[in-house]
């Protein structure tokens, strides 16, 4: 078990290093940082000075090491577009994205899971057909379109909810939260729904197909042959066996929410990391792009690790050491 954790940790470090390498390559070689920072008219002397300052005259591996060292401290230099420290910018935006993502993930789970179970257990009911049809439409709707539609209906036509920004936020240390004000919540509703819809339909269909698969298994047939109640079979056996693969896949999907937030934040002008990233891409702001990439990779790697651990905890076949065949 310990061996397993160690191996996964090593893999995680490997992935992070590869991502760091890609970021580094972006940073150093795509476009000339010196020109970008000093403009076209800089003198040769200025360039040489800046080169030395940035350590650009050092051999590549040393530069990479410096890059990694800086990255570990959260230093990614200055944003080309705004001139501020990249780390500051990201830190400012981080809470907004996190709150939105968690809200969306929660919504997707709370609605998606039960619906998935229901449509699997009641395959032919009217409600199931309706839900399945809606889920198909849901998968066919791009996130930004959902946002636009919601804005059209709830903000423009009905005027119930705001369509822009985060509303009032409260500062708790370095974290700014919108969860402590009614206004903040009002602003959160539409973006959270928009962001959650895609994941919701995915979870729904995943749970449904997994459960249908499980219900076909021999141990379910044997459980029925033993006369166990439908409730015991469906919720005691089938559900538990369904959740094991679902939990892990879902965990990985939820990492995707953080990335999909890019689109939602753009539609609702939500001041998060995603919006920052898009602006960076439009502007070719390399430092921000590289930093965002590393941060996202870190989040993903951590989620992957946690999910792997979870698998271990939940599936006894992996957990209990084999005591040998008898």
């Amino acid at each position: 078990m310990v061996f397993f954790i160690l191996r996964r940790l090593l893999q995680a470090v490997g992935v992070m290093l590869s991502v760091a390498l890609i970021s580094f390559i972006l940073f150093q070689y795509v476009g000339d940082p010196v020109t970008i920072m000093l403009g076209q008219d800089a003198t040769e002397q200025d360039r040489i000075e800046l080169r030395q300052q940035l350590g650009l005259d050092q051999p590549a591996p040393i530069q990479f090491a410096r890059f990694v060292g800086n990255a570990l401290q959260g230093d990614f230099g200055l944003s080309l577009r705004q001139g501020q420290k990249v780390s500051t910018l990201l830190a400012e935006r981080f809470p907004a994205t996190m709150e939105l993502s968690v809200a969306a993930a929660g919504l997707a789970l709370i609605v998606g899971l039960p619906l998935g179970v229901y449509t699997a257990l009641n395959r032919h009911s009217r409600l199931s057909q309706l839900v399945l049809t809606l889920s198909l439409v849901g998968v066919s709707l791009p996130t930004f379109l959902i946002g636009i539609l919601l804005i059209l209906v709830f903000a423009v036509m009905l005027g119930w909810l705001p369509s822009y920004g985060r509303g009032e936020t409260v500062q708790l240390g370095w974290w700014s939260t919108g969860l402590l004000t009614a206004d903040g919540w009002e602003h959160l509703i539409l973006p959270a729904i928009t962001l959650s819809l895609f994941q919701l339909t995915l979870i729904l269909r995943l749970v449904r197909s997994e459960m249908l698969e499980v219900l076909r298994q021999d141990y379910i047939k044997f459980a029925r042959a033993r006369g166990l109640t439908r409730r015991a079979i469906h919720f005691g056996h089938a559900l538990k066996n369904t959740l094991v693969p679902v939990i892990t896949i879902t965990g990985l999907q939820l990492g995707g929410i953080i990335a999909f937030a890019i689109v939602t934040e753009t539609v609702f002008q939500w001041p998060g990391m995603g919006l920052l990233f898009i602006q960076a891409v439009q502007f070719a702001d390399i430092p921000v792009m590289a930093a965002y990439l590393c941060l996202i990779a870190l989040i993903f790697v951590v989620i992957n690790l946690v999910v792997d651990m979870l698998y271990f905890v939940v599936d006894p076949r992996l957990r209990v050491a084999r005591t040998g065949a008898h």
Binding site: S140, P142, I148, V156, I262, V263, Q282, A284, I296
Partner: protein, 304 residues
């Protein structure tokens, strides 16, 4: 020939298609959309690119059934006076073109890599799968955005427009190949040990011949289902990228571009400029998804 056609019509797949209302409906819808977009030059009542034919006076006309509507412009016009219906058809053509191209490219890459990976095994297999796994843990849109952003930064501005299309197609394809590779590799591993492969080997057939003539036909089923799902995803991805402003250049707008442009007019009440392209996009993706779903169920032997 007639007999072949009859065999095809009577096959299990065709039978299932005939009997499924949804499959037929989706196919018809898709066909209509295809004809409309590919044949936009003939179907569209106006040419939105012909500056001479655009009348600013007609700008912001609402659709025909609303007050102020004009029978010339079925779905209304945008802020420049361009007919929305025509723009829509051309936009759909762009969206379809990019979507289909990316899928074909991703499929080619993924299938080849999957075949090689499964057949050769060993280090090659481990490496390819590693890359695929790592890539799969990142959402496609992020990868596409990244590639797009990097190219944007690396290439001087005046060249950007020329290479926008290939880059976009490449980005979406690059984000999508791992799924194909994984699936094909799995099937290849299974087929590799079957007798007909071993027989071919023994009689001296070359590896590539074995792979492409013998193994490939057998792994095509799941690939086809994957391709339809991927087509829907690719179209959405392109629309999203264009909506964000980092997709197709403004000179050849796709549905995503149209939606973005129309978004600015949402609050002033000219909702049609963004909604109709949106509707077209949804119909397109929906029909692809419906067909894909049906195909998956029809090709799945176990559900019978």
């Amino acid at each position: 020939m007639k007999r072949r056609l009859y065999q095809l019509w009577d096959s299990d797949l065709a039978y299932a298609w005939r009997n499924s209302n949804i499959a037929v409906l989706a196919s018809v819808m898709l066909l209509l959309l295809l004809v409309g977009s590919v044949g936009a030059d003939w179907v569209a009542p106006h040419n939105p690119f012909d500056l001479a034919s655009i009348n600013l006076i007609d700008a912001l006309t609402p659709p025909i059934w609303m007050e102020g509507g004009n029978p010339l412009y079925l779905l209304g016009t945008d802020s420049q006076g361009r007919d929305l219906y025509s723009s829509l058809l051309y936009g759909m053509r762009v969206s379809l073109f990019i979507g289909v191209s990316s899928v074909i490219l991703a499929m080619a890459m993924g299938v080849v890599l999957g075949l090689v990976s499964g057949y050769v095994g060993g280090r090659v297999d481990a490496f390819i799968m590693r890359v695929a796994d790592v890539q799969l843990s990142f959402p496609a849109i992020l990868i596409a955005l990244l590639i797009d952003g990097v190219v944007r930064a690396a290439v001087p501005a005046h060249l950007l427009e020329n290479i926008a299309f290939p880059v976009l197609i490449g980005a979406i394809a690059l984000a999508g190949w791992p799924q194909y590779a994984r699936t094909v590799r799995g099937s290849t591993l299974v087929e590799k040990n079957r007798e007909y492969v071993q027989a071919a080997r023994v009689t001296g057939v070359s590896s590539s011949a074995i792979l492409f003539q013998h193994v490939l036909p057998n792994v095509l089923g799941p690939v086809l289902v994957l391709a339809t799902v991927h087509l829907a995803t690719a179209i959405i991805t392109e629309a999203t990228l264009s909506f964000l402003g980092v997709g197709v250049p403004p000179t050849s707008p796709s549905l995503g571009t149209l939606i973005r442009v129309g978004n600015d007019f949402l609050f002033s009440g000219e909702w049609w400029i963004t909604i109709f392209p949106g509707l077209a996009l949804v119909l397109l993706v929906l029909s692809v998804n419906l067909l894909g779903d049906w195909l998956r169920d029809a090709l799945n032997p176990r559900l019978n």
